[in-house]
């Protein structure tokens, strides 16, 4: 099956959704600086309209097909052989994150109503610009276009942290650190993208084309490394996480919400969209290392969060821990794990976003975020306490909240994969320990979140400054209410969400199946053999997607290679590569 439908009906939905915020930013540019309120309203208007338009994607999305939908494709830049396309589309993997983005942006705009009093216009411009960049990166199917949006995300975020951060000295440091860290990774991805385009994409950067090209085993290693480092910095995975607490602590509330809610998901999205499907051999080779890092991230993030005196820093480290789950789920490479991973991306976006909003609300009232400054707030602010509790429980993963669904799926997926699946195939038997250790993280998560909640909300009101705090205003309630609503909807009725990603996840899992055929019974399920048969018969598209067909061809060729060593055009490296493929499992030296 083609990932891109052959006859594309002209559709402009994705362009409209992506660039509507940009139009808003442009409109804001011409507002006078003193018109703070109208700047807020204009921004809100554009954010809400964008969200409403994006609902079209939810309702118009066709279930049961891994194909990209709402595809837009035209030439953008041509330069000699090089061709860059303006190529957009959503599938089950990106759809939910796109919706999360359009959903969170109006909330963020609303949350900044009172918190941002200076340079309001600029704040709103940066927010809308950021939304455009994020949406663009999510819907791009051309690697060049993706990179453009990916880098574009840095600019507004840099300013948001640097201008609106809390501590004047530290915010500059945090902004530059954020920028440089992200940049370091992404330039290597740029080289990788160019290499892919030149060698495998026929001088285009089209994602489906490169996906079908079949990248050689050896380049896959360094290409995967280049992409993985980029995305791992963004996620952030364990050794690359140091920018995150700084950025989060210093960013304004809205910036933190966007950062935790969506920007970090760009890293995981990058893994599931680009790094993993494009380089399955690379995934297999590096999986042990990455899985270990993911688990370390889970435990490390939780442990460090436990000892944080600052609520915001605590939530930041909890993000490190939660995204460790997402990564583990993605590396499970089975339907449950990957779906759980994507689901967890969304639910983490909602619950952590809400946590940052709540921290912001406290900060607005008291101008401190130290846990020791609080205590007994539940009595003073009952509505606030209720909201906070719900969000906390969602973050812990209590059943009937969204957090539970994601974490449960991930752990089950990782466990099955670890006993009899991709994880065990790549890391050896006993890989189910990853899931078991990760489950410990859930307990740690409950400990640090509940402990923090207890210290802040319960007990006596020790600090006299806390006695007269106001409860949530209507605006603040409006900010939190939709998130809380979705926490429950996703927790109780996860099926509509999971169904939307099901087909795409299955498709991509089959894509890896070849690398893990020896033990992976589950992923190569139901329809994969049929597809392979079909492909073998027609053999028009001997793409990577048709793993089994290819394997069959490789097995056939194996004899030829052995018998005829002087086959023209086949160098020794190519031959050995083909032999490896022909052997069925390209067993590469394991990294341990």
């Amino acid at each position: 099956m083609e990932l891109i439908p052959t006859n594309i009906a002209p559709s402009y939905w994705l362009s409209v959704i992506t660039f509507l915020p940009l139009v808003g930013a442009f409109v804001l540019l011409f507002l006078p600086r003193s018109e703070k309120n109208s700047a807020r309203w204009v921004a809100l208007l554009f954010a809400v309209v964008t969200f409403l338009v994006s609902l079209k994607l939810w309702f118009g999305f066709e279930l049961g097909t891994p194909q990209f939908q709402f595809v837009e494709q035209c030439d953008w830049i041509t330069f000699g052989k090089w061709k860059v396309q303006y190529f957009l589309g959503v599938d089950g993997i990106s759809l939910l994150i796109v919706l999360l983005t359009t959903f969170l942006t109006p909330i963020v705009v609303l949350s900044a109503w009172k918190a941002v009093q200076e340079k309001v216009k600029e704040y709103m411009i940066f927010m809308l610009l950021l939304e455009t960049a994020m949406l663009g990166a999510l819907v791009s199917l051309d690697l060049f276009l993706f990179y453009v949006f990916w880098e574009l995300m840095l600019i507004p975020m840099y300013f948001l942290i640097g201008i609106y951060g809390s501590n004047p000295e530290r915010r500059r440091y945090a902004a530059i650190k954020f920028f440089i860290f992200t940049m370091v990774g992404s330039v290597f991805m740029l080289i990788g993208i160019i290499y892919l385009g030149a060698k495998y994409g026929g001088y285009t950067f089209s994602y489906p084309a490169i996906l079908d090209a079949g990248i050689d085993v050896y380049p896959q290693m360094w290409l995967f490394l280049a992409f993985a480092v980029t995305f791992a910095i963004k996620v952030p995975m364990f050794p690359f996480h140091t920018w995150l607490p700084d950025a989060h602590t210093e960013a304004p509330t809205g910036g933190s919400v966007i950062l935790a809610g969506i920007l970090l998901k760009m890293g995981t999205y990058g893994f599931v969209r680009f790094a993993m499907p494009l380089f399955p051999d690379g995934v297999r080779f590096f999986m042990p290392a990455l899985a270990v890092l993911a688990v370390i991230g889970i435990i490390y993030g939780a442990l460090v969060a436990m000892v944080q005196p600052d609520v915001k820093r605590l939530v930041a480290f909890s993000s490190v821990s939660h995204l460790g789950y997402v990564m583990l789920g993605l590396f499970a490479l089975n339907a449950m794990g990957v779906q759980g991973g994507i689901f967890q991306m969304i639910s983490h976006g909602l619950s952590t976003g809400a946590l940052f909003l709540i921290v912001g609300m406290i900060y607005e009232r008291r101008h401190t975020r130290m846990i020791s400054e609080f205590g007994g707030l539940a009595k003073v602010m009952p509505v606030f306490a209720a909201c906070f509790l719900i969000v906390t429980l969602s973050s812990i993963g209590l059943p009937s909240t969204n957090g539970f669904v994601g974490e449960f799926l991930i752990l089950i997926g990782a466990f099955t994969s670890g006993t009899n699946g991709a994880l065990s195939s790549a890391c050896g038997p006993g890989a189910y320990w990853f899931a078991i250790i990760a489950a410990l993280g859930v307990i740690f998560g409950a400990v640090y979140m509940l402990w923090m909640f207890q210290r802040v909300m319960y007990g006596k009101v020790t600090n006299p400054k806390n006695e007269n705090l106001k409860d949530l205003s209507l605006r603040e309630f409006v900010v939190l209410a939709p998130i809380i609503l979705f926490i429950f909807i996703m927790g109780i009725f996860p099926t509509p969400f999971l169904r939307r990603m099901e087909a795409s996840v299955k498709y991509f899992n089959n894509h890896y199946a070849k690398q893990f055929t020896d033990v992976n019974a589950e992923t190569a399920s139901t329809d994969a053999p049929e597809k392979a048969k079909q492909a073998a018969v027609t053999s028009e598209k001997p793409g990577r997607a048709f793993a089994r067909a290819r394997e069959a061809v490789a097995v056939k060729k194996d004899a030829d290679i052995n018998n005829a060593p002087s086959r023209p055009g086949a160098g020794p490296a190519l031959k050995s590569g083909m032999k490896k493929r022909a052997a069925g499992v390209p067993r590469l030296p394991e990294l341990k």
Partner: protein, 542 residues
């Protein structure tokens, strides 16, 4: 129409149309001098207007009435192809923007004279000559015309010691480089018997001097043409010519003059030097060296046994590889520690020359479409670099308050709060210089690096070209750090005191034009890229 013999002869060899833009600019320079003498005491804005009209007419002529397609004239001395057209446009645009920037700046530094305009116009003439020159002699004359004008422009500030020092330093070192260049040209002439690049190729790669380089044969007692010696003469000539060009583009290790001269010169001149001189020098460099490499190829294809000239391509690749790496790295590392913005931009311009050299090294090694892509990438990069760098210098000029004030990084503190548009423009330029999308700088760098990477995949020179690309992107990261620094000061630091920043119309116009182009080229580079590619394709001889 059937032109008679004499008409055809005139058309081929004395076609004035081919050098019309040059003539217009030179005439404007003379007119400006006359006006300066006759309308003493009045505003110099009038002179700016006259100069701009002249440049504008030349620009229109270049864009819409250029002879085009591989036409050479004046006995092959000039060649007005799309390549020449592209660089002529860069020279004219750089000159126009410089004059716009200078209009309000010159009175501030008390050097508001008509000669300034005339010298800028004559420097543009030199650049045009370097763009259209098809003969080493014309190129040399172009380089000298441009350089001498630049020496004087550097020292045009009446009261500044630094300006004079900069001028003198530039003059002495520049004269030294010119001597090398001339010596190189003489050696090439001695070895090949021609200074014409087209003739060099059309000779079919035969290496005979006009009088020949002869050596005594002890066995026969006769003087014979010394094939090997001639080859070494040729290689030595190539080396000297490269040295001369390397000086003009400020490549390491011939970059020592750049920071002092750039810092000492009036800021608008610095901008002009950084973009105009560099672009013109690259134009000449590319034309000459592609010709030389082609000649070497032809020679090698004729040779029966091994000849030293066969190694020319590899040696050139190695040398330019090293020069490019050093230029990028040293430029960026030195820029990292600067506290004066102008000096920082000077070092960054060294680094940018390094990026362009990456493209040149690819172009010299490859052939066919890949070469076109590499040359086109360099051309496009220089165009993008012109707008972003002149824009950045424009902001520096705007901040200038006489003397050197307003150049230090802390002068930019809090600029965003009281001059948001200026700060925003500066941000665009800085992001573009750092190569962050969606700006012109990103597209430029992208195609340079993609030329390098695709050269790595096509040829057996993977190590050379991948390493170039990787060193290039590593340098981009370094550069991000120092380009973010002014942004940090403008946006994240509050101003201790607000500086008076005047938004004069001409200056603002030039910054606005630069901003628009930086974003336009960044988002919709298609048209610019295709023009660059056309130019690169026109470079093929025969």
């Amino acid at each position: 129409m059937n032109p008679s013999g004499i008409q055809l002869f005139l058309k081929q060899n004395f076609d004035i149309q081919t050098v019309m833009p040059l003539i217009v600019v030179a005439a404007t320079a003379l007119l400006v001098l006359l006006l300066e003498a006759t309308i003493r005491g009045k505003s110099r804005t009038f002179l700016t207007a006259v100069s701009l009209v002249g440049l504008g007419v030349a620009l229109l002529l270049t864009l819409f009435n250029f002879p085009g397609a591989k036409q050479s004239s004046f006995y092959g001395m000039v060649r007005t192809d799309a390549f020449a057209q592209f660089f002529t446009v860069i020279a004219l645009a750089a000159g126009s923007l410089t004059l716009l920037l200078s209009a309000n700046y010159l009175p501030k530094i008390k050097s508001d004279t008509g000669e300034f305009h005339a010298l800028v116009l004559l420097a543009v003439c030199g650049m045009i000559l370097m763009a259209i020159g098809n003969d080493l002699i014309v190129l040399f004359l172009g380089i000298e015309t441009m350089s001498i004008a630049m020496y004087i422009l550097c020292g045009i500030r009446v009261d500044a010691e630094k300006s004079n020092e900069s001028s003198l330093k530039y003059l002495l070192l520049g004269a030294f480089a010119s001597a090398f260049l001339l010596f190189g040209i003489a050696l090439i002439y001695g070895a090949t018997g021609t200074t014409n690049i087209e003739a060099l190729i059309n000779s079919g790669g035969v290496l005979y001097g006009i009088s020949g380089i002869k050596e005594y044969q002890w066995d026969t007692g006769a003087y014979q043409f010394a094939e090997t010696a001639a080859q070494y003469f040729f290689i030595l000539g190539v080396a000297f010519v490269f040295l001369g060009f390397a000086f003009k583009i400020g490549a390491v290790p011939f970059h020592m003059w750049t920071p002092d001269v750039y810092q000492g010169a009036p800021t608008s001149v610095t901008g002009f030097m950084a973009v105009g001189v560099k672009a013109a020098a690259f134009a000449a460099l590319i034309r000459v060296f592609l010709g030389i490499v082609d000649f070497g190829d032809l020679y090698s294809s004729n040779a029966i046994a091994y000849q030293p000239l066969m190694d020319l391509k590899d040696v050139l690749l190695g040398v330019i590889w090293l020069v490019a790496v050093l230029t990028m790295t040293l430029g960026n590392l030195s820029a990292l520690i600067q506290t004066n913005l102008k000096r920082m931009l000077a070092f960054s311009s060294i680094a940018h020359a390094g990026y362009a050299l990456v493209g040149v090294s690819v172009a010299l090694r490859l052939s066919g479409d890949d070469r076109d892509a590499a040359v086109g990438a360099v051309m496009f990069y220089l165009l993008a670099y012109m707008f972003m760098n002149l824009g950045a210098f424009g902001v520096v000029i705007m901040m200038n308050r006489g003397n050197d004030e307003g150049e230090h990084l802390h002068d930019y503190n809090g600029l965003a709060s009281y001059r948001p548009l200026v700060a925003a423009a500066m941000a665009v330029f800085m992001f573009s210089l750092a190569g962050i999308p969606p700006t012109a700088g990103f597209v430029g760098k992208f195609y340079i690096f993609s030329a390098a990477v695709s050269a790595g995949t096509v040829e057996g020179y993977g190590l050379y070209f991948y390493s170039l690309a990787i060193i290039g992107v590593l340098n981009s990261i370094i550069s991000v750090y120092y380009y973010l620094y002014p942004l940090r000061n403008m946006y994240f630091v509050s101003a201790e005191r607000e500086h008076k920043v005047e938004l004069r119309p001409l200056m603002s116009a030039s910054i606005l034009i630069s901003t628009i182009f930086v974003l336009w080229i960044g988002v919709m580079p298609k048209g610019f890229l295709s023009r660059a590619l056309e130019g690169a394709k026109a470079l093929f001889f025969g």
